[in-house]
């Protein structure tokens, strides 16, 4: 019998490794007492026995009522009778039973066996029917067990039960305004989840909307989250109708709703509602997670929580509830903020980044910012808006996309959240931002709003939206602080300012909150800053540098933290180096060091070593001792350890990631590493020439890989910074960089530009010396044309330096000439000047001449070709004339008027531009030389005369006319082609007589030969054929004009 009874008492499910808990044992004992009292008794005796038992000893009253309660839960058949007995025997109107059931419904629900669950629900229904006092609380507790984002059958069954219960007992429900609000809040959430369960959802919608319409005033107590949930389900037609009333006729819903939606948005949500959407189990875990788990050790907990609650597609909607809970209820104390416990922003960042649904993600972002939109410093708490700004700030480093999407969201909601009230929303958000600054959550928003990690388009939007917050703050002492330093700067002030809300730590309602009113009072109570912790903070602040990220420091484990602080406090350099060595040891030993720890350490080191990093490191005198001294600082201890590992030793990776982390705070780390590697190399080489390890440039490569930056970009930005900070170090590094990373830098225009833009006279001298000595090679000659092209945009002095370097490199002039035709005399003067000077030194050859003569003949002031040829003529005399004529002859088609074929030799092919030049173009240049008169004798050369003749013969009439002045230079006794005779004679006569007088036609020649050449050249060859039949006519016309002028 006993054994049988024992087996019957089973309320909870257990796995094989779980034991009965105390509550169940207590229930079991009471049940057994009851059984032993009543065994074998009939109804009447049963009742008497119990009554007398209770009257004997007051403590037995509880035993009996618990025994009966257990009987109800266990035995469905006799439940009605047992419940009757229970009500009859109870002298306190079932209050003790209710008290027991409170705990039961809140904490034990999830473990109840199915049968007992049904019985419990039945019991609650009976109690509602009987209107037992306190059952409303049981309903609230039960409703908490109906999880959001869960459409499993047990959860749905519970929701259905609750819906039935409230619908069937509407009258009863309406007696409890706060329960109405809770029911509305919960069911709005369930509706959101039940998109695939249409029949249930329709019932839920109908019920909730009718409740809202009838009792809207009661629902106002919820606060702004009512609007949030209504927005999430606004697509449902019934809700849409409600929305219309809410927007256009709010007082029809509630007379007190004088200011419509804004009035609700301005009401802070009571915590009770935010809390109600987390099951007790979720709440316990989340509270534990945010109050006890150390930052850096949180991964597994996240995984467990995720696996249990957030893994299904329908569970994504729960993320908003969790975020609202964290924002509204988890308000850590000062002590907690100073500790290494995971901060709220990290938890929210995790909830946002792991979200798998876009809709849920948008809702989650909205949930994060919901207290911003109508923020009122008088009624709202800074702790409600602080997480969002910190999520944005702290994600910058690792998840810049999260920051960007949140900033984007923030900008958009101003206009899109409630278009009719844009100004109100803008004010709310601006007040929030101002409050963040006033309460010193951040010292400035500039580093966040103007951060280069955010895409420039978005930055523009932000700057347009939040112009007031984008201006750099006036910094005392005129110290300009770099972006990265500011990042650290901003966190520290948070802790002193934030309020110690000691009452807020009790999240769970063991002491059930009696009314929402009371909570509001609590929330509004005047913040008390704990004197003790404030004092500690002050002390710390005096010692450590202001911009140190204290939170990061506190993330470090004890040993690391100690050494890190020593590094800063000790004055003695050697002692500092020792600390650094220890830090390195600690990092290397612990190969499972968490990235967060590395990040924190990196931030601290970068801050603490700031002075060392920023001071001048490059020695004034360059000798081994000076170099050795320059790398005696703690920072270099870390670099040295890096070089001491062999290449395949993976322990370096930790150090490298630390360095990478430091570089995000102190960008100078990059070039200092380069400098160290080079100095190390120099010293090693000088000390022992046999043991030439070669410079360990692979370390730098790995350094870039660790940062996931292309070596190219990393090197460039490091060198850029070095160039800005210390040009002498930069110049000293340059030869080394070119030798160590030839694939990347040799011939690279960015690096070259960096060099030429930084150096001064003595430095270019040094570099050129190295080049000339063969120690340095900055580009190969084949890269020169493209480099020259890109150099066109540089400063004049930079271009001159560049050409100096080109000269130093012994580049073949032919290579340079390959794009000579593209250079414009007026805008590319530096390049052309330098090429001219180089050409001047060359001996004229056909190969050089060809590209030069390919240059276009305009503009009028272009003296390049003239200068080149003239200078050559002065130097080398007739050989130039011969070359030109040779070229001209080779470019003139063989003239034989009778045999002329179509498609061949149509005048002097005028399409020039590419080597070899067309005869027309050569003639054009000759004409200009002639008109300049720089070397008149050249045209008398025999070869030239001959060439001109041939050219003249091959010319079309137009061309012949264009170059008439040139052809006049032909010696008179030379035989002329009969067709040209007349023309040339006219020209000749004019050339001799009229030239000084600048007759019309002469003017025309001087002015527009060039113009005609360059402009008509394209058409002329084509036109010619078409025009041919009319040629004579045309010619006559021209002649007429010419003679008229005479």
């Amino acid at each position: 019998m006993a054994a049988q009874q024992q087996n019957q008492v089973k309320l909870f499910t257990y796995s094989a490794i779980e034991r009965k808990d105390e509550i169940e044992e207590k229930y079991e004992r009471c049940y057994q007492t009851l059984q032993s009292l009543t065994a074998g008794l009939n109804d009447r005796e049963y009742h008497d026995a119990l009554t007398s038992h209770i009257s004997k000893d007051k403590s037995q009253e509880e035993v009996v009522s618990l025994g009966l309660l257990t009987a109800v839960l266990l035995d469905a058949k006799n439940a009605e009778k047992t419940y009757r007995d229970l009500t009859l025997l109870s002298r306190d109107g079932l209050q003790s039973v209710i008290a027991h059931l409170q705990q039961f419904t809140l904490e034990k629900w999830s473990r109840l066996l199915d049968g007992s669950r049904k019985q419990l629900l039945w019991l609650i229904r009976e109690m509602v029917h009987n209107n037992i006092a306190g059952v409303d609380n049981l309903c609230w507790n039960l409703m908490r067990n109906a999880a959001g984002g869960d459409i499993s059958s047990t959860n749905i069954a519970l929701i259905e039960y609750l819906l039935d219960l409230y619908q069937d007992n509407r009258k009863w429900l309406e007696r409890y305004p706060w329960l109405i609000a809770s029911v509305v809040y919960s069911f709005l959430r369930f509706i959101e989840d039940h998109t695939s369960l249409i029949p249930l959802r329709n019932r839920e919608v109908a019920f909730t909307i009718s409740l809202l319409r009838d009792r809207f005033t009661d629902c106002l107590v919820i606060g702004r989250d009512l609007i949030r949930l209504l927005q999430n389900v606004s697509r449902i037609p019934e809700v849409e109708t409600l929305w219309k009333d809410l927007l256009h006729n709010p007082q029809s819903l509630s007379p007190s709703l004088t200011n419509g939606v804004i009035q609700i948005l301005e009401t802070r949500t009571s915590r009770r509602f935010l809390q109600s959407r987390l099951t007790p189990d979720m709440e316990r875990k989340l509270v534990f997670f945010t109050s006890s788990v150390r930052f850096g050790h949180h991964k597994r907990y996240q995984e467990w929580f995720q696996n249990k609650y957030l893994n299904t597609p329908e569970a994504q909607s729960l993320r908003s509830d969790l975020i609202r809970f964290i924002v509204g209820l988890i308000h850590p104390t000062n002590e907690l903020l100073c500790s290494d416990i995971i901060p709220r922003w990290a938890v929210i960042g995790w909830l946002i980044t792991t979200c798998t649904s876009n809709i849920a993600l948008a809702n989650a972002k909205m949930a994060l910012f919901y207290d911003w939109i109508c923020y009122d410093p008088k009624h709202d708490n800074i702790m409600n808006i602080e997480p969002a700004i910190l999520v944005m700030l702290n994600s910058l480093r690792i998840h810049p996309t999260v920051t960007a999407s949140l900033l984007d969201f923030l900008c958009r909601i101003i206009t899109n959240f409630y278009p009719a009230q844009t100004e109100r929303i803008r004010t709310g958000i601006f007040v929030s931002l101002q409050q963040i600054l006033d309460k010193r959550v951040l010292a400035s928003l500039v580093p966040l709003f103007t951060n280069p990690r955010i895409d420039s388009e978005l930055r523009t939007i932000i700057q347009n939206t939040f112009r007031e917050f984008c201006d750099p703050p006036a910094i005392q002492g005129g110290d300009s602080i770099k972006n990265d330093d500011l990042m650290d700067n901003m966190l520290l002030s948070l802790k002193e300012e934030l309020v110690a809300e000691t009452d807020d730590i009790s999240f769970s309602d063991e002491e059930t909150e009696t009314s929402p009113k009371k909570i509001v009072n609590l929330e509004n109570s005047i913040p008390i800053v704990k004197p003790a912790s404030a004092k500690v903070k002050l002390k710390e602040r005096n010692l450590l540098p202001e911009d140190l990220d204290i939170e990061a420091l506190e993330t470090l484990n004890h040993e690391l933290r100690l050494e890190t602080e020593t590094l800063y406090f000790k004055k003695d350099n050697e002692r500092k180096c020792e600390s650094m060595e220890k830090i390195v040891q600690l990092i290397v030993q612990d190969d499972e060091m968490y990235p967060d720890m590395i990040a924190a350490l990196g931030s601290c080191l970068a801050c603490l070593l700031k002075n060392q990093i920023e001071e001048k490191i490059f020695p004034a005198v360059l000798n081994d001792d000076a170099f050795e001294d320059s790398i005696g600082k703690p920072l270099f201890v870390m670099f040295r350890s890096l070089t001491q590992f062999t290449e395949d030793d993976s322990r370096r990776l930790q150090l490298l990631s630390l360095l990478a982390e430091m570089r995000t705070h102190q960008t100078r780390i990059g070039y200092l590493l380069l400098y160290f590697l080079q100095v190390n190399n120099v010293i090693n080489n000088n000390a022992d020439r046999k043991m030439n390890n070669g410079i360990k440039s692979y370390i730098y490569k790995e350094f870039c890989e660790t940062q996931e930056i292309e070596l190219n970009d990393c090197l460039l930005s490091d060198l850029q910074l070095c160039q800005e900070d210390d040009t002498s170090m930069f110049c000293w590094l340059i030869p080394n960089v070119y030798n160590q990373f030839p694939k990347i830098v040799v011939g690279n225009e960015d690096f070259l530009h960096l060099v030429v833009s930084a150096i001064d006279g003595s430095q270019i001298q040094e570099i050129i010396c190295s080049i000339v000595q063969g120690k340095l090679n900055m580009f190969r000659s084949d890269a020169v044309p493209s480099l020259a092209t890109s150099s066109l945009n540089w400063e004049t002095i930079e271009q001159y330096f560049f050409w100096q370097l080109v000269s130093a490199h012994d580049v073949d002039i032919k290579v340079i000439l390959s794009n000579i035709t593209k250079l414009d005399y007026n805008s590319h003067s530096e390049t052309l000047t330098n090429i001219l000077l180089m050409l001047k030194k060359e001996k004229p050859t056909l190969e050089l001449l060809k590209p030069i003569l390919c240059r276009e003949i305009k503009p009028l002031n272009d003296q390049f070709v003239i200068s080149v040829i003239s200078s050559w003529y002065l130097e080398h005399g007739d050989s130039v004339a011969n070359l030109v004529s040779q070229l001209l002859i080779s470019r003139c088609p063989v003239v034989s008027p009778t045999k002329r074929k179509r498609g061949q030799g149509q005048g002097l092919g005028s399409r020039g531009g590419v080597a070899p030049p067309s005869a027309e173009r050569i003639l054009g240049h000759m004409e200009r030389i002639r008109s300049r008169g720089t070397c008149p004798v050249m045209f008398r050369a025999e070869g030239m005369q001959k060439a001109l003749q041939i050219a003249q013969a091959a010319c079309t009439d137009t061309q012949r006319m264009l170059f008439s002045n040139l052809f006049q230079l032909l010696e008179e006794d030379e035989p002329h082609a009969p067709t040209t005779n007349k023309n040339s004679t006219v020209g000749k006569g004019r050339g001799r007589k009229a030239a000084p007088t600048f007759s019309n036609s002469n003017k025309r020649n001087a002015k527009s030969v060039i113009k005609d050449l360059s402009e008509s050249s394209e058409e002329s060859s084509e036109e010619e054929e078409v025009i041919k039949p009319r040629q004579t006519k045309k010619r006559r016309k021209i002649n007429t004009v010419a003679s008229d002028s005479d």
């Binding site: 094989a16 490794i17 034991r19 788990v293």
Partner: protein, 177 residues
């Protein structure tokens, strides 16, 4: 593993041994820890299977070898109390086992902090050779054997229920096929 109906006389407030204090050949200890990883089951002969479960408490982590059913119902995040556990080297790794009369008891989940910084089951190439099978009174002796005296928290009266039966060490060490 052990059914709940079996009424056990395990004293609930047995002093706990911290994982960092666990040493080779310790016996009859109670450990409260949280499950971090459950590795796949390795089948043994006679239809047994064994899983290596990584567990941790606030001091350190250790591998815990779990036989048969209990391993299948352990999940990461579970908080368990291991009663009458012992520790020996298995393949150079210090490993925790449940004694023959021991028990795994799940007491919750998630809400416990732990530290992974020390892994007691790191391979130790200098692991001492296994001891010869303990005698009839092996329990009490092995308690002090090779372990630092005074580090033990185990009270002598904890072993009363054992009645000199072969100690937990007599449990077969897992042999993988």
């Amino acid at each position: 593993m052990m059914g709940i109906n079996k009424q056990k006389s395990i004293i609930p407030d047995t002093p706990l041994t911290l994982i960092k204090d666990i040493q080779n050949n310790m016996n009859n200890i109670t450990v409260m820890c949280i499950v971090l990883d459950v590795n796949p089951a390795v089948p043994l002969k006679d239809n047994h299977e064994v899983r290596t479960v990584k567990v941790a408490d606030s001091s350190a982590s250790i591998n815990f070898s779990v036989w048969d059913e209990a391993g299948a119902i352990l999940f990461p995040g579970d908080i368990i109390r291991i009663h009458r556990a012992y520790a020996i080297y298995f393949r150079n790794c210090l490993t925790l086992y449940v004694g023959k009369n021991g028990e795994i008891e799940k007491i919750g989940d998630f809400i416990m902090t732990f530290s992974e910084s020390i892994n007691m089951s790191e391979v130790n190439l200098n692991a001492p050779p296994p001891l010869p099978p303990p005698g009839a009174n092996g329990n009490t002796i092995s308690n002090t054997r090779r372990t630092g005296a005074g580090k033990q928290n185990v009270k002598p009266n904890t072993f009363k229920g054992n009645n000199g039966k072969s100690g937990p060490r007599s449990q077969m060490r897992p042999e993988r096929k």
